[in-house]
Amino acid sequence: MTMRADVMGLSFRGRTASIGFARGPLIRIGAGENSERAAGKPQDETLALREAIQSAAEQIAELAAAVGGEAAQILEFQVALLEDEDFLDPIFVSLGEGAPADKAWSSALDEQIADYNSASDEYLQARSSDLADLRDRVLRILRGGQAQVPKIPSGAVICADDLPPSRFLEIDWSGGGGLALLRGSPTSHVAMLARARGIPMVVQLGALPDAAIALLDGESATLELDPGAEQITLFERRREAHRKSRASARAVLRRPAPTWRGERIRLLINIQEVDDLEHADAQYADGIGLMRTEFLLSGPGGMPDEDTQFRTYDAVLHWADKRPVTIRTFDAGGDKPVAGFTPEGEANPFLGLRGLRLCLARPDLFKVQLRALARAAVRGNLKVMFPMVTVPAELEAARALFAEAVADLRAEGVGATLPELGIMVEVPAAAMAIGDFKASFFSIGSNDLAQYALACDRSNGALGTLMDPLHPAVLELIARTAEHGRRAGAPVSLCGDMASDPRCVPQLLYCGLRELSVNAPALAQIKQTIDRLSHGGSGG
């Protein structure tokens, strides 16, 4: 533990899983901590496990009845597993062979968890925390501990590596509070629960030092530890603004599209994976402004084949119906390494072979994605964009590869077409020389654009306020891109975190942007922010 004499606490940035604010004591909770049990005779172990499974099922059913709704549905999966003879039989067989009940149970569950963790689908990966939850509940009963929930003071900011859904449900959230997870995922069940309950949650914070007091801001995905007085004042101001807008925000979704200075503002959503479309607010979007495809690369077998990719893209186009869907080709490298794809041993991966640079260096793999996209392009309103473009030659090289893929497919008698092609604007050089690119549309990746313009690693929490996306230099690059798009008749949108941040939206509109792509949970608030600017404010 370090003592600090300065008035400014440390600030850490993660990923938003649920928007909201919490200020309170920082409470760390760990995983199961009971000791192993001594194995009895096989029949005793069998009986012990039967009873433990029975009481676990009862506990979960009680919990489900108490919480109801979506949370109950999540718990149903755990109950179904406890009633699954095909799943349980091998465990009881190993008990017959003399294995202790706790070890047999946890190794069977660990095997399933590993299996889910290695799935290519982020949704399936997220299910592993449900299984860990189930494993720990049965183990607690077997090892004699009742489900002991540590006493958590009301309104605490709870810090854990990850948190299983049933632990979340056992915590009394009536006094507020929030969740700060070192790992975790915005698509986990616990994140769904937190959003449904309105509990702020930030994930992937990395290592955190000990602290007494925490400020958790689920809107900007920050956690401030042992804050100074000024930090607290600013935090409370943000919280108050959030509270006021939240109340009326969701009603705004059903209203017509917002306008600003007489122009329609298009609001699209970003998706990490297909499952994000299940968010209740997603249907109100004008389309998908950014579909990431990196999740396809993280499966155990590496990149999925053309058909699998095609089905994934097609599913999203089907969902979108006539609305536009902008899919970004693989953006690996930098802070998103992919084993077997991204280069190893780069001294500075953020400035290395990443994004389109990497895809052009691996045309064998890139071509598979381009073929799948060319086939999907005949199925809906598809646009494709390339990440990390620095010079026009890269766009043209990608376009040539794409055209080749289309020609190959047609020669094979497969329906394919070249979609509209655009680029991400995230390298400052591209923004400065924007007029040189023959792109049909532009999408500003403000996270990287700001990080490169300000020379600030965006994952380095110690840089704090220096990493300011509203810095005049960043805004200048955005305005420049927007102005070029307006003159060239090429739509320009912004899909970075700035678009989901109500504090940044006015500046983005002043920069000339008329299209923003936000995370689905932020859609209501951003729409309302724009409505306010055009009706209430003196924006004209």
Binding site: D84, Q112, L124, V274, L277, E278, R311
Partner: protein
């Protein structure tokens, strides 16, 4: 599609999975719950080359990793096999509706 197999006591059927995210937790729970209401032995598979798995096991159904648009084949044998296959096809074809049951 529901057909009686001529060369055995099996009732078989096929249905396309229209669920947007494929055979994930909630659809799998609904499918196994429904399958368990029948006496018949019910097996499913998500591709012609795969092994048949028990439709009453949620762990096995999840392990199918069946994506959207895959064709689920169902086969059943036993007294209520015909009703079982029809009910499961209906469940998948109507995209796993929420019912009070």
């Amino acid at each position: 599609m529901l057909e009686k197999s001529a060369d055995g006591p099996f009732i078989t059927g096929k249905v396309r999975l229209v669920h947007a995210v494929g055979m994930h937790a909630r659809p799998a729970v609904k499918l196994t719950k429904l399958a368990k209401r029948f006496q018949a032995q019910i097996s499913i598979r998500a591709s012609e080359t795969a092994d048949w798995i028990n439709a009453k096991s949620v762990a096995k159904v999840m392990a199918l990793r069946a994506p959207r648009d895959s064709v689920i084949e169902i086969k059943a044998h036993g007294e209520d096999a015909e009703a079982a296959v029809a009910a499961l096809i209906d469940l998948v074809a109507t995209d796993f509706p929420d019912t009070g049951a």
